[in-house]
């Protein structure tokens, strides 16, 4: 039956020719090539769980009184958005499970994107002709961060409500247009009555469309340009050595999809995440201590907490304090990331196409610079938890903040210098990648 269906398709749209062409595509193998794939599979789980959730979530700020199954909130005034999030957690069969799977999938999506990006950066896979795809990848990272923030902001609990308040402050801090921009986004003063509905449309329609579209182009370019490979015997700039798409590579890829789904099912079933019923409905009078954003927002939260109270005035206008940590810092980071292939080309004068990857040690300067930026971001990330650090270390908050402020400058310098030394040492040690000998042996047995 399957053969008849295949023939049916082939006679009408010529699938066999297309598939035969694609099936012979060779993909190089390395465990480091896995992370982008894992991000893709997390996205699949996000889309399916998200579609399910969208049927039950009510993105409305209309006031209501809770009458559901969760006792402590019965009789409490709240928005329809928060009520439907609580109903999802207590009244809708499988609701809590799918909510938790969705949230865990978002965390895994962002984590695998980040590791994938680091792999691309430290092995020089972004170099010509893949510079364009690198820019698409950086765009996906930014879209993912925004999408994640919007997702957990929808529930209108105390935590996310405070997050939306901070979003408004960030908008307000923008020179010249800040006030108008905030009024535009919120449809008036904070919180207004429309922000949840607007964030919902962005979260379920606009950003997913952009994400899926960008992922499609991202993958199409990988197929078109063929995958990079690590150097080794028989591997040159002019060939691809690895596994054919059909059958083993495809089977393993689909297997990985199911394994990602399995891990996320396990996390969603057993590891509680964002128990919104404990936070309570958002009320502009309410605030919680020790609040943390999702991990991929941690560095931005840290920047807001660590940046000094600097607010210059001149000619009757003022640059609000949050502008530099909340707009300039991510602006410089993402612009710099996107422009990195061209920056490096300018610095090295290397304008050639590259299909063979570098190990991090092969390019100590780039590796050291990347490590330094990571060190800076790591300090900011810890800055996002300075209150918790102060409590758990039993140190005054002021000392934690000042230590971290100094570290934002010192840590990158130290880490960058140490990384450079280690990379140079490894490179000059002359060790070769493992597995290469086995490959040469195989080559010999065949010839």
């Amino acid at each position: 039956m399957i053969e008849r269906f295949a023939r049916f398709l082939d006679e009408r749209i010529g699938t066999s020719r297309f598939l035969a062409d694609k099936a012979t595509k060779v993909f190089p193998e390395s465990w480091t090539f896995l992370f982008g794939e894992l991000a893709l599979y997390s996205l699949v789980v996000l889309l399916i769980s998200g579609i399910w959730l969208s049927f039950f979530f009510d993105a409305s700020l209309a006031e209501t009184t809770y009458e559901g199954a969760y006792g402590p909130l019965v009789g409490v005034e709240m928005s329809e958005a928060y009520r439907s999030a609580i109903a999802l957690s207590f009244d809708v069969p499988a609701g809590l499970f799918v909510r938790q799977v969705h949230h865990w999938a978002a965390l895994l999506f962002m984590a695998t994107i980040l590791v994938h990006l680091l792999r691309i950066f430290f092995t020089g896979a972004f170099r010509r002709p893949r510079d364009v795809n690198w820019v698409i990848g950086v765009t996906l990272l930014v879209l993912g961060i925004v999408e994640g923030f919007l997702g957990y902001s929808l529930l209108d609990d105390v935590l996310s409500g405070v997050g939306v308040r901070i979003l408004q402050a960030v908008l307000l801090s923008i020179p010249v247009a800040g006030e108008s921009l905030a009024l535009l986004v919120f449809g008036g003063e904070f919180p207004g009555e429309v922000i949840i509905g607007r964030m919902f449309m962005a979260h379920v329609l606009v950003l997913p469309a952009l994400l899926v579209g960008a992922v499609a182009v991202h993958l199409a370019l990988v197929v078109r340009q063929k995958h990079t490979q690590f150097p080794g015997a028989g591997r040159t700039e002019d060939n691809v050595v690895g596994l054919r798409l059909w059958p083993a590579y495809a089977a393993r890829a689909v297997g990985m999809l199911w394994l990602v789904a399995a891990v996320l099912a396990g996390l969603g079933g057993f590891v509680q995440i964002n128990p919104v019923w404990l936070w309570g409905p958002y009320d502009p009078l309410e605030i919680t201590t020790a609040a943390q954003p999702d991990w991929y927002m941690g560095w931005l939260e840290g920047a807001l907490r660590l940046f000094p109270p600097f607010e210059p005035q001149a000619f009757g206008v003022m640059l609000p304090q949050p502008f530099i940590p909340a707009i300039v810092l991510p602006g410089v980071l993402f612009t710099g990331l996107a422009a990195w292939p061209w920056i490096e080309r300018r610095l090295t004068g290397d304008d050639a196409d590259h299909h063979l990857l570098q190990r991090p040690r092969d390019n100590p300067a780039r590796t050291a610079f990347g490590a330094a930026v990571l060190a800076h971001l790591a300090v900011l990330f810890f800055g996002g938890s300075q209150d918790l650090l102060a409590i758990s270390l039993n140190v005054p908050l002021q000392r934690v903040v000042w230590t971290l402020r100094i570290l934002t400058v010192v840590a990158p310098l130290v880490v960058g210098w140490a990384t450079y030394r280690i990379a140079v040492n490894l490179r000059d040690g002359g060790t070769r990648p493992a597995g290469e000998e086995a490959f040469s042996e195989l080559q010999q047995t065949r010839s």
Partner: protein, 311 residues
């Protein structure tokens, strides 16, 4: 580079290795486990409610997806040709053609796979089962308690009110007039709406179908939901005594039990039995003789006076 001999055996293994057979065994077992996990997921969804549902859903779906994942990876790593294969890299834009040799290789590999048809069927079955089981939570879209779908808010003694809530006296409607009415205090506006028509000055009226006693003070009342597809039968032609549905132009004979006169409707509009209470207001003396609106599979068993069904 890609000669046929290399493809027979996974990379780095002697040709008589037991590994492929072992891998196929593990993969087959994993696919069966996946099917069991999928069944467990559906069973948990339907049978377990409350506290532990989340954990059990997670555990069963983990087993279901994990079985497929482990099976596929083991099959791929243990019993599929491992290469290495070599493909030339051309500059983009120059056009690439797979060498004919490659196409034969794909055919060869596919035949190799076809030899494992049992495993392939187990995989398809497993993916089908897991895929279907993940659809089961969409059952949450339905209401969480039993709903009596055929119910309306009418009953013995319920007053007829205008849409603004005022009750209708037996002497207010003009002869030949028709107004939409609702049950007093009832909120089932969608299903309970009725067309009240005054056919005579007073007394009971013969509207065919032997239901003289269902009329009162010259009035007759029919469900305002078209028996074709549930639109409101909003038009009354006094001259021909016809109720007409504007959606698909079904017409009903008011003087003959609202039997279908024209158009796609096959069943008469359900009739509401009328009376007059002590204060002179029109009331229902019961509920409709049959389900209102469009019909379902269960229609015949829900018609109260079965003899009249489909008249």
């Amino acid at each position: 580079m890609s000669s046929q001999e290399d493809r027979e055996v996974p990379h780095g293994l002697p040709p008589d290795s037991e590994r492929p057979r072992l891998a196929v065994g593990v993969a087959a077992t994993a696919f069966v486990v996946a099917v069991l996990g999928a069944i467990a997921f559906a069973v948990v969804y339907v049978a377990v409610h409350g506290q532990h549902q989340t954990q059990l859903l997670g555990a069963s779906l983990l087993v279901a997806c994990g079985g497929l994942g482990v099976g596929l990876v083991v099959w791929a790593q243990g019993a599929m040709p491992q290469g290495p294969h070599v493909e030339d890299r051309h500059a983009v834009g120059s056009g690439t053609q797979p060498a004919p040799d490659d196409e034969h290789a794909v055919e060869h590999d596919t035949h190799e796979m076809a030899r494992r048809s049992l495993l392939g069927r187990l995989l398809l079955g497993g993916m089908g089962a897991v895929g279907l089981s993940t659809l089961v939570p969409f059952l949450s879209l339905g209401p969480d308690e039993e709903v009596e779908t055929a119910a309306t808010a009418w009953g013995d003694g319920v007053r007829l009110t205008r849409p603004d809530g005022t009750p209708v006296r037996a002497d207010t409607l003009d002869l030949g007039g028709a107004i939409p009415v609702l049950p007093e205090g009832g909120d089932l506006k969608a299903d309970s709406q009725v067309m009240l028509i005054r056919l005579a000055e007073d007394g009971q009226v013969d509207v065919g179908s032997g239901r003289r006693e269902w009329t009162a003070a010259g009035h007759v009342a029919y469900s305002r939901l078209c028996s074709h597809m549930g639109c409101s039968v909003g038009l009354y032609q006094a001259a021909t005594q016809s109720l007409v549905c504007p959606c698909h132009q079904s017409a009903f004979r008011v003087a003959d039990g609202a039997s279908p006169e024209f158009g796609p409707a096959t069943r008469p509009l359900p009739q509401l039995p009328l009376g007059v209470d002590d204060e002179g207001f029109l009331v229902a003396t019961g509920t409709f003789d049959r389900p209102v609106g469009t019909a379902t599979w269960q229609y015949p068993s829900r018609v109260q006076d079965g003899g009249e069904a489909g008249a």
